[in-house]
């Protein structure tokens, strides 16, 4: 029997999908502003942030009402908890996009340091993680979610590499410090974007399988049971 409650859950899911699409576009614009030196990509990021913030509050309110009024259990409960958590990840993703464009303004006016060459690749990985984590959540695709988790290591490694190279630049020439710090900040933002995507992918696995894979909890459980 199709429940009236299912319609409400479906509406919630659609709302989250709209917000995901918005956050994805923001990150794409933010990355483009830096990588392609596209000044026009900056202002839409600020405009969309307002929308995302509003959506975050609306989704939280819907979730609270759905819980208070329907006493969800099992898969329904996990779904709503997953939405609440993903909702806040999306809002933070949007914040990271804003953080990037804040630095983009300055970066666009100066000559790039060599480690900048690694930024496009780093951004591509971060963006793909966001895209796929959201897909995995919306489409309940846990194998895709697990792929996203693996990509996070790659992203972290790239970020560490960028930071180390920038340290060298600064050690060699103190005039590079300001630019290096900006780039470091951006690489840190990209890394965090990966972290948020990772969290969303973990939420996807939790919603579908009911398994908590955060902090390698599943591996620890497996080790205990051996």
């Amino acid at each position: 029997m199709e429940r009236h409650f299912d319609e409400q859950l479906q509406a919630l899911r659609s709302h989250l999908m709209k917000m995901s699409a918005m956050a994805e576009v923001m990150i794409a614009d933010a990355v483009r502003s830096v990588v392609e030196h596209d000044k026009d990509a900056i202002s839409p990021v600020y405009e969309r942030e307002e929308l995302v913030n509003t959506m975050q509050m609306e989704i939280d309110e819907s979730c609270m009402k759905l819980i208070a009024l329907n006493q969800p259990a099992a898969a329904d409960l996990r779904f709503i908890l997953g939405i609440i958590k993903t909702n806040s990840e999306l809002e933070r993703l949007a914040d990271e996009a804003v953080n990037i464009v804040k630095k983009a303004d300055h970066l666009l006016t100066v000559e790039q340091l060599k480690p900048f060459e690694l930024i496009p690749e780093t951004s591509n990985i971060a963006r793909s993680m966001v895209r796929d984590s959201l897909r995995s959540f919306v489409n309940r695709n846990t194998s895709l979610a697990r792929e996203v988790l693996q990509r996070d290591d790659q992203l972290d490694a790239l970020k560490t590499k960028i930071v180390n190279l920038l340290k060298e630049c600064m050690a060699e020439d103190s005039k590079t410090v300001s630019r290096a710090l900006d780039l470091m900040y951006i690489s840190r933002c990209l890394e965090r974007i990966g972290d948020h995507a990772t969290n969303i992918a973990e939420n996807a696995i939790f919603v579908v399988e009911g398994v908590d894979v955060r902090h390698h909890a599943d591996e620890k459980r497996a080790a205990k049971s051996v």
Binding site: M1, R3, H4, F5, K65, A68, N70, Q71
Partner: protein, 251 residues
């Protein structure tokens, strides 16, 4: 959103007992309004005033105002039979007549005496369909209604009401005799019916009120403590007493 029933300053006495105290309530068309509160708070009494079921109680005294469709239902010139046809009631225990499924649903139409046999057949089919009983019962129309499982009996009582085309359906604990699966069927049916009908339900089951109603009134000792949108009542009630009841600290 139009108001179908407006209750104002309603006082009701059973002899010396002051059962309803200056109660206000507004029932909106095509919405579900739930009355909740601990036993003896007056919620069923209030429900029963809405189609004058309390008239049958000896020693009852009612003052205040209940406007239905703009008219005072306790005023002069109100035909109680017509009122109860327009505002029907479903009770706690399913109460089908000891007749066949078909005759139960056709009963009101036959009493009314205005429908042809063919019309009655059509209306019975439509009413059973609306109560989601046509599929399970279409080949059992001549079976005794008393042979049906309880949830089907309750939906048959709803079909019996629908046959006489009420505007408002009052439900007094309609699921309290039913198991959770049967309860959820009735709840889904109510959500479907509210597209065309106005429903007022009394329930002991707060979660039921939360799941299905649009507006809720919390009653205590004959008073309407709080009446508001159900999502407001269940997420951020205005009154501490409502909060205590909703969260299970009282009642």
């Amino acid at each position: 959103m139009s108001t179908v029933i407006r209750v104002e300053n309603l006082d009701l006495f059973y002899g010396d007992f002051h059962a309803l105290k200056k109660v206000p309530m507004e029932v909106l068309a095509r919405h579900i309004t739930a009355l909740i509160g601990p036993s003896g708070c007056g919620k069923s009494t209030l429900l029963r005033t809405l189609n004058r079921m309390n008239d049958l109680v000896p020693g009852v005294k009612i003052t205040g105002s209940i406007l239905f469709d703009g008219k005072e239902i306790y005023g002069p010139g109100i035909d109680v039979c017509t009122l109860r046809k327009r505002i029907g009631m479903v009770f706690q225990r399913p109460n089908p007549f000891p007749l066949s499924v078909f005759d139960n649903v056709a009963f009101g139409l036959r009493v009314d005496g205005r429908s042809s046999r063919r019309q009655i057949e059509d209306i019975v089919e439509q009413s059973l369909k609306r109560a989601w009983l046509w599929e399970p019962l279409k080949d059992r129309l001549n079976d005794s209604a008393l042979s049906l499982p309880l949830d089907q009996q309750q939906r048959l009582c709803i079909a019996r009401l629908l046959a006489v085309e009420p505007e408002v359906i009052l439900m007094d604990e309609p699921c309290s005799a039913l198991d959770p699966i049967s309860t959820s069927k009735i709840e889904e049916l109510m959500l479907e019916l509210k597209k065309d009908y106005t429903i007022v339900i009394v329930t002991h089951n707060m979660q039921q009120a939360a799941r299905i109603s649009d507006y809720s009134g919390y009653m205590l000792l004959g008073e309407m403590i709080e009446f508001d949108a159900t999502d407001k009542i269940f997420t951020n009630p205005r009154e501490g007493r409502t909060q205590d009841y909703i969260s299970g600290r009282y009642g």
